[in-house]
C-alpha cells in the first residue's frame, strides 16, 4: 500500500499546532506584509540611504514604470526556461527509462548524473557562452544541465518504489516490460516526478537568469546586469520580485497539473 499523502501540509500543521484554519492561512501573508511595512518605515525614517535600499513604494514604482521593458525581457527568459525545461524533462525521462531497463547503464551513468549536480552553475555558464555564443542555446543547455537531475532521480525513485510483488503479479498475467512500465511504474513515479519538476521549474528560471548575466541581448538577467551597472537598485529589486513571482507561478502551475493528473491523491489522507 502506498503511504498516505496529504493534499497539502499546511492545514495539517495548523491543526496539530491548535491554530484555527483561517489564522493558519493568514499567518504567512501577514508576516510578509509586516516585513514590507518595517522595510518601508526604515526607508521613510531615513535609517538607510535610499540609494542603498530603495523603499517598497519606489520598487513598485520602478516595476510599474518599466513594465513594458520588463515584460519583453521576461518573455525571453520564460522562453529559455520553457525550452530548457522541456529538453530537461525529455532527457531526464529517457535517462530514467534506460537506467531502469539496463542495470549496466544505471551503474555507468548514475554517478555522472550526480556529478552534473556538483558543477557550480556560475562556473560553467561562462564556458557555455564561449562555446555556444550569445544566443539562446547556452541558456537552454545550462537549464537542461540543472533541471534534468531532479527529474531523472525522481522518476528512478518512482520506478523503484513499485512493489516487486506487483511486477511479479503483472508478469504472471503475461505483461510485457512496456506494459509494466505503462501501468505500474509510470503511474507510481508521477508523485516523484512532480516533486522533481517543482524543483526543476524554479531552477529553470534561475538558470536562465544566471546564463543571461554572462552574455546575451535580452532576458531578465540582461536587464539585471544593466540596472546594476546603472546603480538603479529600485529596478534591481523590481526584477527580483518579478523573478520570484514567475517562479511561484510556475510552481503553482506544476501543482495544478499534479492535482489534475493524479486524482487518486485527492481521495487519500
Amino acid at each position: 500500500m502506498s503511504p498516505k499523502r496529504k493534499g497539502s501540509g499546511a492545514p495539517a500543521l495548523a491543526r496539530t499546532a491548535g491554530v484555527s484554519p483561517l489564522v493558519g492561512k493568514l499567518a504567512a501573508p501577514v508576516t510578509v506584509l509586516a516585513l514590507v511595512a518595517i522595510w518601508q518605515l526604515v526607508c521613510s525614517v531615513g535609517l538607510v540611504p535610499s540609494f542603498l535600499l530603495p523603499s517598497p513604494v519606489a520598487v513598485i514604482q520602478a516595476l510599474v514604470g518599466d513594465w513594458q521593458l520588463l515584460a519583453g525581457h521576461a518573455v525571453t527568459s520564460l522562453a529559455e526556461a520553457a525550452a530548457g525545461l522541456a529538453c530537461g524533462i525529455a532527457l531526464g525521462f529517457a535517462a530514467a527509462v534506460l537506467m531502469d531497463r539496463f542495470e549496466l547503464v544505471y551503474r555507468a551513468f548514475y554517478p555522472l548524473v550526480v556529478l552534473t549536480q556538483t558543477i557550480p552553475t556560475v562556473a560553467i555558464a561562462p564556458l557555455l557562452v564561449l562555446w555556444f555564443g550569445y544566443g539562446m542555446l547556452p541558456k537552454v543547455v545550462l537549464i537542461v544541465i540543472t533541471t534534468f537531475f531532479p527529474i531523472t532521480v525522481g522518476l528512478l525513485d518512482g520506478f523503484r518504489s513499485v512493489d516487486p510483488d506487483v511486477i511479479d503479479l503483472m508478469r504472471s498475467m503475461g505483461a510485457s516490460r512496456a506494459q509494466i512500465m505503462r501501468h505500474a511504474k509510470l503511474p507510481a513515479s508521477l508523485g516523484h516526478l512532480f516533486s522533481g519538476l517543482k524543483i526543476s521549474a524554479t531552477y529553470a528560471i534561475v538558470g536562465a537568469v544566471i546564463a543571461e548575466w554572462l552574455g546575451g541581448f535580452s532576458g531578465l538577467g540582461v536587464y539585471m546586469t544593466r540596472v546594476r551597472s546603472a546603480y538603479a537598485f529600485d529596478k534591481m529589486f523590481a526584477v527580483i520580485i518579478l523573478i520570484s513571482a514567475l517562479s511561484l507561478v510556475l510552481m503553482w502551475a506544476v501543482g495544478a497539473l499534479r492535482r489534475k493528473l493524479m486524482p487518486w491523491e485527492r481521495s487519500e489522507g
Binding site: 500500500m1 510483488d165 506487483v166 508478469r171 498475467m173 487518486w264
Partner: protein, 250 residues
C-alpha cells in the same frame, strides 16, 4: 475447469536444496490447499507453478499442456491485494484484459458485469485506498478471475484479514468457486483455513535453511460437500481430519 499437475519439482538456491521431488495433482474443479510452516518454500513452489521461475528439474502441466517456466497461464493472487493505487477499482480489475489487448471500454464492461457477484457493487470508480481490506481482496480476486476462470493460484489470500472478514471471505470464496467451477490451489499456514476450504490438503514439511529440503509428507482428503462447509468446523469429523493433518505436520 482445468487440472493442474506438478511433477517431481526440485529447486535449489545457492546450493541449498529447497524443494525435493514435489508432485501433486489438483483435479479439475477442486480446491486444494498447500499447508506448511513458514519458510518451508511454499512461495518458491508457487513461483514455479506460476511460471515466474524455472525449477531445476520437474514439470508443471495444465490440462496436460507443459507450462513450466511460462507465465501468463493461470491466475495468481497474493496475501497483499496489490491493487495499483493509481487506478480506480474497475480499471484495476480489468487490467488483465487490457494487458491481453482488449480495448479499455470493453474490458471495463466485462469486469462490471461481475461486480455484483463479487460483492463489489458501488465501488466501480473508487480508488483502492478508499476500500476496506476485505473489499480490496475481493477486487483482487475478481482481477485474478478475469485473468483466468480455469485455474487460480492463491498465496495466503486471506491471512491479512481479521477473523470475521476472513470467515465471510471463506464462505464467499467457496460460493464463487462453486459457481464458476474454478480449480484452485491455495497456499496457507493456517490449518483451520485449509480444512475449511480444501477438497484435498497437501502437507509440506521441511526446513531448507536447516538442511532438510521440503517434501510433501502426506495428502488429506476432505470429502465434506461445499454446501456443508459453513458448519463443518463444528463437527467431530473436522477434528478427526485436523488430528491427521497435525500429525503429518509433526
Amino acid at each position: 475447469m482445468a487440472q493442474l499437475e506438478v511433477g517431481h519439482v526440485c529447486v535449489a538456491f545457492d546450493g541449498v536444496q529447497v524443494l525435493d521431488d514435489i508432485s501433486l495433482t489438483v483435479p479439475a474443479g477442486h480446491i486444494a490447499c498447500l499447508l506448511g510452516p513458514s519458510g518451508c518454500g511454499k512461495t518458491t513452489l508457487f513461483h514455479v507453478v506460476a511460471g515466474l521461475s524455472l525449477p531445476d528439474s520437474g514439470s508443471v502441466e495444465l490440462d496436460g499442456r507443459d507450462i513450466t517456466g511460462a507465465p501468463g497461464q493461470l491466475a495468481y493472487m497474493l496475501q497483499k491485494d496489490l491493487l495499483l493505487p493509481e487506478k480506480t477499482i474497475v480499471d484495476n480489475v480489468s487490467l488483465p484484459l487490457v494487458l491481453r489487448g482488449v480495448p479499455r471500454a470493453q474490458a471495463r464492461e466485462q469486469a462490471l458485469a461481475l461486480f455484483d457477484t463479487f460483492g463489489l457493487a458501488g465501488t466501480t470508480d473508487r480508488w483502492p485506498s478508499e476500500l476496506s481490506g476485505g473489499m480490496r481482496q475481493r477486487a483482487a480476486l475478481l482481477r485474478s478471475y478475469l485473468f483466468s476462470q480455469d485455474f487460480m493460484l492463491l498465496d495466503e489470500p486471506f491471512s491479512a484479514l481479521d477473523a470475521f472478514t476472513k470467515a465471510d471471505m471463506h464462505a464467499w470464496f467457496l460460493d464463487v468457486a462453486e459457481r464458476f467451477g474454478t480449480t484452485a490451489l491455495v497456499v496457507t499456514h493456517d490449518v483451520d483455513e485449509a480444512l475449511e476450504l480444501a477438497d484435498e490438503i497437501f502437507v509440506m514439511r521441511g526446513a531448507p535453511q536447516a538442511g532438510r529440503p521440503t517434501r510433501i509428507v502426506g495428502t488429506e482428503r476432505i470429502p465434506c460437500p461445499r454446501a456443508e462447509r459453513a458448519s463443518f468446523a463444528l463437527t467431530e469429523e473436522f477434528l478427526e481430519h485436523k488430528r491427521q493433518v497435525l500429525a503429518l505436520l509433526g
